[in-house]
Symmetry: C2
Subunit: 165 residues, 2 copies
């Protein structure tokens, strides 16, 4: 018997190599939520954020703790405790948050400037054309991510909402 078979190839990319980890994404969502919904900066419970932003409760717990230890959030313990922004939303940017959860913002270790590392296999870094390209990518990326503060993101949302209606 000769014929065709249909092969379904499930290309799955929901989170691929170069994308933000779920931790980073959840962190950003939680922060934007706090910037938008908690201008008075009073303690908001984990479960509140978890439900509003569709983030697994226990996972979020660990994330918020990291953000607190990094000086981005402040917390109050005990009954009626919770989390709130430690700084002004205009002073918290995407680059900082991403670094905290996903490490250096650079496609190659040799173009990172905070956590620079040589590329093992590389023979001459100074004249490496590959490095040259990716260092350009890094510069452009950081230009955007450093300016993308929570305040900026909230503003963008509002402006998008206006455009639509």
């Amino acid at each position: 018997m000769i014929g065709w078979i249909f092969v379904f190839s499930p290309i799955e990319f929901y989170s691929s190599a170069l994308m933000l980890s779920r931790k980073a994404k959840y962190a950003i969502n939680a922060l934007v939520f706090l910037a938008r919904e908690n201008k008075k900066r009073e303690p908001i419970q984990i479960s509140k954020i978890s439900e509003s932003e569709n983030i697994p409760r226990k996972f979020l717990e660990a994330i918020l703790l990291d953000l607190r230890n990094a000086g981005i959030l402040q917390s109050r313990k005990g009954k009626f405790g919770g989390y709130y922004l430690q700084k002004d939303p205009a002073d918290i940017n995407m680059a900082t948050v991403m670094r905290l959860f996903d490490g250096p913002i650079a496609l190659l270790p040799c173009v990172a400037s905070n956590n620079y590392e040589r590329c093992e296999e590389c023979t001459d870094e100074e004249t490496c054309g590959i490095r040259d390209v990716f260092s350009e990518v890094r510069m452009e990326t950081l230009k955007i991510l450093n300016n993308a503060t929570l305040a900026d993101i909230v503003k963008r949302s509002k402006s998008l909402a206006k455009k639509i209606k």
Copy 2:
């Protein structure tokens, strides 16, 4: 007994979440090597490339095979066989190679345009300020990576070498 202990925290970032996989990096190095050293496009053996570029032999084998299946390399089998570029170095760019090994070039699934996927936790994509930021990052990144061809990278190397001496 009471005292201090010294804790060495090994911050290891050689390859972090957002960086290229070794496969992608090795692939790029191999391709640039071929563009630079094999202008006549005759078969070059895996072991030759492996030694020149410090890439594990067997690992490189798999990588070159992928590049061939993607139509980027051509191969000849048997004695004196090997690999060579299938297209002009000016027609092979970084975006294509990266996608092949590391998937979509996008920090969020919802900003990828080839392999777009909704962000599970997202409630309103149209007015999402986060998406707005990362879509900007993607645009700028692709602008660079689409233009970064093998020919361009070789040119950059030469120009860097001139600057130094």
